[in-house]
Amino acid sequence: MAYTEKELAKELENKKYEYGFVTDVESDVIKKGLNEEIVRIISEKKNEPEWLLEWRLSAFRKWEKMEEPDWAHLKYKKPNFQDLHYYAAPKTKKKLDSLDEVDPEILKTFERLGIPLEEQKALSGVAVDFVMDSVSVKTTFSAKLLELGIIFCSFSEAVQNHPDLIKKYLGKVVPPTDNFYAALNSAVFSDGSFCYIPKGVKCPMELSTYFRINEANTGQFERTLVIADEDSYVSYLEGCTAPQRDENQLHAAVVELIALDGASIKYSTVQNWYPGDENGIGGIFNFVTKRGLCEKGSKISWTQVETGSAVTWKYPSCILKGDNSEGEFYSVAVTNNYQQADTGTKMIHLGKNTKSVIISKGISAGNSSNSYRGLVQMNPGASNSRNFSQCDSLLIGDQCGAHTFPYIEVQNKSSRAEHEATTSKIGEDQLFYCNQRGIDTEKAISLIVNGYAKEVLNKLPMEFAIEAQKLLEISLEGSVG
């Protein structure tokens, strides 16, 4: 019954291009600005049921009354929300005839990441007629998964084909009014991914949005919903190590995970959005709300490797509602040049005997700023709960900054939270020591950084881990003069 990834890959190789790319909606852009009419248009274009329109509208009305938060340790020019397009239908990316037409710098990065040629083509939009074409891959996967009862499709498709599940779970973990960006996302979300694992099913392969990278509308306001039914397991990969450029400066995604009794969700992200140039010009603003809900005896594990974006605001969290549930957060956040990151997690312990682990590794170089912000909350009913947090910062050079803002609230007597934090610096002495042993400076930084981030990288699925390792190396290139 279970298909191995190898078998699938083999089958895919023999498979012909089936469905074309994305539906032809090339110039389907509505005018700038945000108001109820725009929300209605979006919903209508997506052929959504009435209740979802109402849901969006109510989010919009709340959003209008909200203020953009400014508590994060970030400095940026706030976007003018009335000067954005909220519905640019998936433009088919311009097809190129060969890799010769691709920006040589991007090709160089592909090379160094060790991405196979066919994938390079697919990622940079060169026409390919088999295997890596995102739509056909996705479809093939879906067919195989469906045999197990697993649903893995775009959010829009799920709205059409599985409205009951959407209605039941949408906004249950991240309510539309949770925060400014979540409210905005709820009002205007374009598309995203949906995944449902039925009771007792262990998903046999890593589910990856990587395969869908060319679907242009993963876009600005992405919405992801993963539901793991009782005693099921899924490992979900999001993102891509390859450099991602995008004309949309603002990204405000929402990810909701639901682990029902005894279920386990492993959610891994590698994020490498355009960080702006070495002078801090350009780059993507990434304001993401990610949260998981754990029912009895379930487990949610977040693994994040972030090297991109000019501004990152992101706190993948776990609500440990059920007794004996577990939450984990493993993160490596790299900032270089003028990048800024304010990231961390929230572990909300509600159930008894709940456990959480937080391992956060910040790496700052250049003139960047990297903050960890975390909340561990053990509610009165969460007796015998445990948390262990470790927040480390690594500095490269002396123009960057690292900050740690841990909040720990233990509201019962039987629970315990432990917090450890360290700050270290890659010094010239260390680099010279490496040089004197025949290791050049770039390699030395990579050695030190990978050693430092090892605990987190080890949590990534194998093929991702190797790419992520190289990605760290590339992201920090030239960070020491």
């Binding site: 010279f432 004197q436 400076t441 050693g451």
Partner: protein, 255 residues
């Protein structure tokens, strides 16, 4: 016989213009051990750093021929890859990087420079087990982060262990004896003596004659004020121990 290293009239200063080396001349031939002694601040460690390519120092004059090459023209890593090894006076800690991984990276980088492929796990582990015995390096230190939490003596032994693994052509030992008790000193010296061959050479920088009881030098040099003011056979070290450096300084001044 050709020399391994030939230092001619070497002058070096700090970026603020403080002159530290004022015309060092030194020639070391294969199979030789040279000791460099001298009072504090005479420029001993600077000489070691300049030879290894530390950027804090600016060479203003002179030349260094190493193995037929212009040493000063090479980057620090290329000097290492060409066989120059510096045993640090203060070995640096590298958290998160295991001693073993560090050494393997080092060996493979050096091999890549020479156009060789990476070392096999078997060969590497064989070497590790053989060489660590030489300096009686505790097994558990191999998997710990480089020098992190090592005692002073363990750090120095680790330096000699690395030296044994990398088999340099020219080893420069910068005050390797400082902070060592007599047992550790004996172990370190044993390592150095065992590694000695007719192909390689060592420059041993030390403050005290004590080390030279264990590592017997062919020639002893006295560095003072950034220059070598006297060279002689190993007995010179004993004389220095006896009389201190002042008589030599006077000798120089009256010259």
């Amino acid at each position: 016989m050709d020399s391994i290293i030939k230092i001619k009239n070497l002058h070096a200063e700090l970026s603020d213009g403080t002159k530290i080396l004022n015309g060092v001349n030194l020639e070391v031939k294969p199979g030789e051990i040279h000791a460099i002694m001298g009072p504090n601040g005479s420029g001993k460690s600077t000489l070691a750093s300049v030879l290894a390519g530390r950027e804090d120092y600016i060479v203003t004059e002179g030349e260094v021929e190493y193995n037929g090459m212009d040493l000063l023209d090479l980057s620090p890593e290329d000097r290492a890859r060409e066989g120059v090894f510096l045993a640090f006076q203060y070995p640096v800690e590298i958290p998160g990087v295991s001693n073993i991984n560090f050494l393997k990276t080092s060996i493979n980088e050096i091999r890549a420079y020479k156009g060789e492929g990476p070392i096999s796990a078997k060969e590497f582990l064989g070497m590790v087990s053989e060489k660590s015995k030489l300096v009686e390096l505790d097994n558990k230190l191999k998997n710990r982060s480089v020098n992190e939490g090592f005692s002073g003596g363990e750090k120095k032994r680790n330096e000699i262990f690395q030296m044994a693994m990398l088999e340099p052509k020219l080893a420069i030992l910068d005050e390797t004896d400082s902070g060592l008790d007599i047992d550790a000193l004996r172990i370190v010296a044993h390592g150095v003596n065992t590694l000695k061959s007719s192909e390689n050479a060592s420059i041993v920088i030390t403050h005290y004659q004590r080390l030279l009881d264990y590592i017997v030098p062919d020639i002893v040099h006295v560095l003072w004020n950034g220059r070598i003011i006297k060279s002689g056979p190993k007995e010179l070290a004993l004389e220095l121990e006896d009389k201190g450096y002042d008589w030599l300084k006077k000798e120089v001044i009256t010259e």
